[in-house]
Amino acid sequence: MEFEPRIVGFLCNWCAYSGADLAGTSRIQYPPNIRVIRLMCTGALDPIYVLRAFLEGADGILIAGCHPGDCHYLNGNYKARRRVAILKEILKELGLEEDRVWLRWISASEGQRFADTVKEMVEYLKAKGPSPMKNPIL
């Protein structure tokens, strides 16, 4: 059986979440490997939720928010970008496969971009294999 990666998507309500919605209503096809968690802004995402998702079995994390300059709360996405930079650096130094964390800017009208991103990510993770961080006990 082919490995089906599990992706947890943290999507901003004002952009990427609507973009995902649009992809759905416009019947744009994309793989069903993503479980979506809606945020009010990417700036509200604490790294603890990304880490928890990995430890609980996610193979990849997509964090998607408003394009630079378009954040509903002015600068939440810039703050998120810094936090992601820190998170990825830590994962890299510890050999924990930082390339499983993707940050993308996707607006409410970019349904196609959302679908393409998920497709691309699924292919990337299929080639990479399951995340070693899951099942962190025994």
């Binding site: 300059g69 930079a85 130094e93 070693p132 962190p136």
Partner: protein, 369 residues
Amino acid sequence: MKSVIQTHGDPKGAVVGVLKSLLNQGVVKAWLLPLSGSGITYALVRDEGLLEKASPFAPVMPINLARAVSVVAKKGGAGKIGVLLRPCEQRAFVELVKFHQIDRNSVLVVGMDCLGTYELKDYASSANTALEEAILRQFKAGEATPYQGLNFRKACEVCVHFTPTNDGGYAPELALGLLGMDPYEAIALEGEPDLLKGLGLEEASEPPSRLEVISALREKRTAKRKEAFAETLGKARGIEGLRSYLSTCIRCHNCMVNCPICYCPDCVFRTETFDRTTSQYLAWAERKGAVPMLPDLILFHLTRMNHMATSCVACGMCTSACPMGIDVGTLFSAVGEKVQALFNYVPGRSLEELPPVAEFKEEEFLDLG
């Protein structure tokens, strides 16, 4: 301004004299410093007579004193408290000021050169005065050799920020210069001209050998640090490596409680945020086969690192506090150094540079998004 005080064979007495004078002049209302009695106790000292018990050179650090500064001087507004800080405490002080945990104007800092400290339990079970004298004698050559049968704390063995002054960055109101000096003869003082003049001191330059001793020690330590950090990052590599590095962790959270940077009173790991109901735990165990109890060990360490590694001052207090002897500090310092490098940030270097988690730029990490 720079000056030198003669110590006439009694370095401690000379420093106590300075402390007393600043208290009597009303420059500070009290001193926060280590007192010796049965062991070392940090205290907020108001009584001049008790300053005789001050122990500025005891090579031990029960807590990172910056934590205590944030307890007494968080709000401020009641005059200045003088505090005696080692360089890693001073750097934690600077970070805590920037995180609004210390009112900068309520504190007068006296910094000092540091060659290293012992673990508290080693210090407590040794001849204290012998340890102190041995280390004071080593400042002149700048060679830190631990007392027979003991080791310095791991953080100290690889400490590269062992002086209180930073080139062009933050400098304490007063800095005691010991490296390259024989403290039994003289101690270099650097600080605000008003303070030094108030102490009746004249401008005087330190011996040139002082700077040479400092740079030689820095070079040696930098090499050791690089080696130790690489070794630790090699050991803790990958989820297996990390789990084995932390395999004896009993999740007591002492490393966090004793970290000067982990100041959050409502830290997520002290709240019920991640508590679940019995049926949720059962569902979790069913899904995974088994769930470790208490849960979230790796999550705790990785989250703490994400929250504070950008400001980790490499003081090693987390290692000293760990009942299981896990070298948390070297791991956090090694990762911290890499994360800080992303922002060209050195914790404690300056009061002006904002901590990386407290700001952002529009044009940065453009390849990430």
